[in-house]
Subunit: 252 residues, 2 copies
């Protein structure tokens, strides 16, 4: 059973305003539910079909999670997906504490105004693949707990810490402890540039790149050389992937 | 003016069936129209606002292109975009001839059942950036002239040759002239594997990877090592980007 108020609450969490207000977000589908159940995220409640519950009841009960059994028709009404998939989880947005600069790992990513939810989710997924644990993002970057972002992370959202910050202050404060590289079209060739660790790589907005304000305080600019007469740029998540790959390769 | 029949024709070209039947496709918006006007693609006709025509009439007239002036209201009805952007172009799907193996460039891509239009478009854009001119794709890969694919290429669709082929026969025939590498999770570490040119890299389906049939005839398997305990895979277009980057770096 799902009540009208529960339905309304679920739907409201698709909007950032209500996620912020409730410090809660929604994940949907069998795979994502499995991922969050394996993580340290605090689960508030689960709406699922009898079929889903039958294969997850030990886990749900052992963690003392509030479970509501719903019908397929109720699932369809509650879901934000075109093909709902057995289960919807409401979880708490975690409070992140910032580790000491020395404990953030040898590579971190900094995102300056990434707008597309698919790009943000894909960047989080890529960072996770390469073992990057901390990402810093400007306050106007897309919201990590937007359902489209969560979906694109393929579960990596539960393994990465993404800190929203005023980037300009964050970068100024970190210049002493991190080697900060801004990714720009005209930057030094990434394949031959010297790279020092711990390193932070800044990825800019999809159409405008890194803002002038940030670029002016970044000591080093790097870029992925083009071998084309025509293409003006790479997709932001592809560029982030290539930069992560190249930094990881050099680190090992 | 745009007639009912012209409207119907434009809308029909959103479907592969009608694109195949007419050997024609649609591109929309100022940027994409500029890109196709700069290319060698044969343009059949253009529907555009008076504003667009005033800044493009010399080009349109000098190339002898059929132009129909339409109002903003007509543009909205004709467009497939949520925010129509001044111009819609109908162009011919080019007939591709296969160059001799030695003239295809030092790196080619092979796509095995890439399904997501955004991924296909992004891979084409990345290939273009790195100067890769030829891509081979299985016949069940997404259609290059799908409007979402074209949009994601950001104009690179006009600079790349994508050949749809029976991949199994193509790979068998190319084994003598190309060094073919299949990208798989368990493959040899891409950062340390020996690579010979001319090289072809196979990228597999988003969820299933490269098919068993193809994998069984590919001499070398390579992979991007993971440094994560959790992430199961990379996004297909990010993986393609990292592989292109690494092959290009080794070539130079």
């Amino acid at each position: 059973m799902i009540s009208k108020n529960q339905l309304k609450h679920l739907h409201s969490l698709r909007l950032k305003k209500f996620r912020d207000l409730n410090q809660a977000f929604v994940v949907e589908g069998i795979k994502m539910a499995d991922e969050i159940l394996e993580s340290n995220f605090r689960i508030i409640e689960i709406f699922g079909t009898a079929g889903w519950f039958s294969s997850h009841q030990d886990l749900v009960n052992s963690r003392g999670i509030l479970f509501h059994e719903i019908t397929d028709a109720e699932l369809t009404r509650a879901s934000g997906l075109t093909s709902p998939n057995e289960v919807i989880v409401i979880a708490s947005i975690p409070e992140l504490t910032l580790p000491e600069p020395g404990l953030m790992g040898k590579i971190i990513l900094i995102l300056d105004r990434i707008q597309d939810p698919g790009n943000l989710g894909t960047i989080v997924r890529t960072a996770d693949w390469f073992g990057i644990r901390h990402i810093f993002a400007s306050e106007d970057t897309a919201d990590l707990f937007n359902p489209k972002v969560i979906q694109a992370t393929m579960g990596s959202v539960f393994r990465i810490s993404l800190h929203y910050r005023d980037l300009s202050s964050f970068i100024r404060e970190s210049l002493g402890s991190l080697n900060i590289y801004g990714a720009t079209a005209g930057g030094e060739n990434i394949y031959t540039a010297e790279i020092s660790f711990p390193a932070a790589v800044i990825i800019g907005n999809e159409s405008q790149g890194i803002s002038e304000e940030i670029l002016s305080i970044v000591p080093r600019k790097i870029g992925i050389p083009s071998f084309s007469g025509g293409a003006e740029s790479l997709n932001a998540s592809v560029a982030a992937g290539i930069l992560c790959s190249e930094f990881i390769r050099r680190m090992n």
